[in-house]
């Protein structure tokens, strides 16, 4: 029975950036997979550019 650990559920453990449950309907939302894929492609793209030039 450790209710004491209840941190409200909103706060991430060591986050400098806070994310809340509330979200605006107007906001653009990305799938996390899209971001990972973009990051990978961007990295590979810059690598290729470095090799070519």
């Amino acid at each position: 029975m450790s209710k004491g650990d209840n941190s409200g559920g909103l706060m991430s453990s060591a986050g400098l950036v806070r994310y809340f449950d509330a979200e605006d309907r107007n906001a653009i939302r990305f799938d996390p997979k899209t971001i990972v894929a973009f990051g990978l492609l961007f990295g590979i793209g810059v690598l290729v550019l470095n090799l070519v030039a």
Binding site: D5, L10, A14, A27, P32, I35, G43, V46, A53
Partner: protein, 501 residues
């Protein structure tokens, strides 16, 4: 009603990462966390396109270990912009200038948007001088002529890449926070510091860089490396054992900080709680010594880093060959004098540079050219900055993250608990909390500041810096707690209701 209405259309439309619908299984969470970590390491190894690799210097210098990222890579900025934006938000929020109520969903959206907006502003504010002023990210002439554009054109390309990198870090943090375990910022700090720590322990001399602790000692014990010409029990011999290359003191400090943080995590004031209706159901609310966690410390360090950053940018604008900051044609040695390695050796920016290693202050071992009184002032300023700054940011941190007396009182009230012997009323609980939380926060913040300065003065393995070490140990500890909690919930789905997710 002021800025809220004006900024609302922009702030509410800030792009965000989707939230998972329903519960994410623990394995999937670990998967996302590991995936982001791999992506982070990959991106730190991608050199910027159009960068002249031969003549760059790291603007973050020794602050690199806590700001993550890597010099000359797409992630050049690391978490710097996020930290700086957070400082601004903490100061504004802590002084209650924003007028945002984080319990109101509309204000929550605004707060989130403002956070992102500030990070983007900070990416520009740090990225633009980094690329366009000084020689921190010099453009490659070869690329410029190959593409048929000017050097400025290549600089624009460089800035575009570090901008994308900075935004990527922000979204990667959001993915870990929403889909993974812990937070991205924490993860990147641990990743960077651990990498340096492992390097500092094991790096083989043939890898090119400085030899790590273990290879050095294998060398010493097998006789392939001599310490002070074999005269161990003389002054230079002991010095070689303690500092370079023996590093015994650094190992000692590193282990000591580990020990202190893990111990301090368990030091707490426990406020007894009992359930209002269910007799016999008891609990405890822990007010930890490092209550506000070590995280506010990164804000203080980042503030110091930004001061140094400003100094180096100003110095880079001075005519070549001058040793002091020159503004509008007048030399200003009182503002900052710089050595050949780009480190400040005198003036305002010298005194405000934190002590990063034993060589910075051990005047009697000829580690530095500065006078003892200069070193004394510098240590005193560093200590004051960290102790007082640590305490102030800890207070702000507690207030803005909802760990303050009022917020915790409401939480306890809402969970149906009460403090035995007191009336069941949020104001009463708040009064009791006010006796502990502010005091513990200030003591904790000041203690962590003191520890960070001490660790830096004594040196750490792999130059990870005291703050880096403190952050890594406490973030890892938190991560461990969180993983344990996750596993508990995985095994007993009923627990999920109790933890409220």
């Amino acid at each position: 009603m002021g800025w809220k209405e004006t900024a609302e259309p922009v702030l509410t439309r800030m792009p965000a990462v989707q939230r998972p619908e329903g519960h994410v299984p623990f394995r999937r969470k670990l998967g996302w966390t590991a995936g982001i970590l791999v992506l982070y390491f990959f991106l730190t190894n991608v050199t910027l396109f159009g960068l002249d690799v031969s003549t760059q210097s790291d603007l973050f210098g020794r602050f690199r270990s806590i700001l993550a990222g890597a010099q000359g890579s797409i992630l050049q900025l690391g978490i710097g912009p996020i930290v700086t934006a957070s400082i601004v938000l903490q100061l504004l929020g802590g002084a209650d200038l924003l007028g945002l109520d984080t319990n109101d969903p509309r204000d929550q959206i605004l707060y989130q948007g403002l956070q992102k907006f500030l990070v983007v502003v900070m990416i520009c504010l740090t990225g633009i001088p980094m690329v366009f002023a000084g020689s921190f990210l010099p453009p490659s002439q070869a690329v410029a002529s190959a593409l048929g554009i000017t050097a400025t054109g290549v600089q624009v390309l460089l800035f575009a890449q570090i901008f994308v990198g900075g935004v990527l870090i922000l979204f990667m943090d959001e993915i870990v926070s929403k889909w993974g375990v812990g937070s991205g910022v924490g993860l990147f700090i641990i990743a960077g510091v651990s990498q340096q720590l492992v390097g500092g322990l094991f790096a083989w001399p043939s890898l090119g860089g400085a030899a790590g602790f273990i290879p050095t000692w294998i060398g010493i014990l097998t006789g392939s490396q001599t310490l002070a010409d074999g005269q161990l029990l003389t002054g230079p011999g002991i010095q070689a054992l303690l500092f370079q290359p023996g590093q015994i003191l650094a190992l000692f400090t590193t282990v000591l900080i580990f020990g202190i943080v893990v111990y301090a995590e368990s030091v707490r004031v426990e406020i007894p709680l009992s359930h209002a209706r269910v007799k016999g159901a008891r609990g405890r609310f822990p007010v930890k010594l490092i209550y506000a966690s070590v995280l506010p410390m990164i804000l203080v360090r980042a503030l110091q880093a930004n001061i140094q950053f400003l100094g180096r940018i100003l110095f880079s604008q001075s005519p070549a060959g001058s040793s002091a900051i020159t503004l509008f044609g007048t030399s200003m040695p009182w503002l900052g004098q710089y050595g050949s390695d780009g480190q400040p050796v005198g003036g305002f920016f010298y005194y405000f540079a934190p002590i990063q290693a034993p060589q910075d202050w051990l005047w009697f071992l000829a580690g530095t050219a500065a006078e003892p009184w200069q070193i004394f002032i510098r240590v005193a300023i560093d200590l004051t900055f960290m102790v007082i700054g640590g305490a102030i940011f800890a207070i702000f941190w507690v207030e803005t993250t909802g760990m303050g007396p009022e917020a915790t009182a409401r939480q306890i009230q809402n969970s149906g608990m009460q403090i035995p012997g007191f009336r069941r009323n949020p104001q009463v609980i708040e009064k009791v909390m006010e006796r502990y939380i502010p005091q513990v926060t200030v003591i904790g913040g000041a203690l962590v500041g003191l520890l960070a300065v001490m660790a830096n003065m004594l040196g750490t393995i792999g130059q990870v810096s005291g703050t880096g070490l403190l952050l890594t140990v406490s973030i890892t500890y938190k991560l461990y707690e969180e993983i344990a909690e996750e596993q508990l919930m995985e095994m007993h789905p009923m627990m999920r209701n109790m933890f409220g997710r």
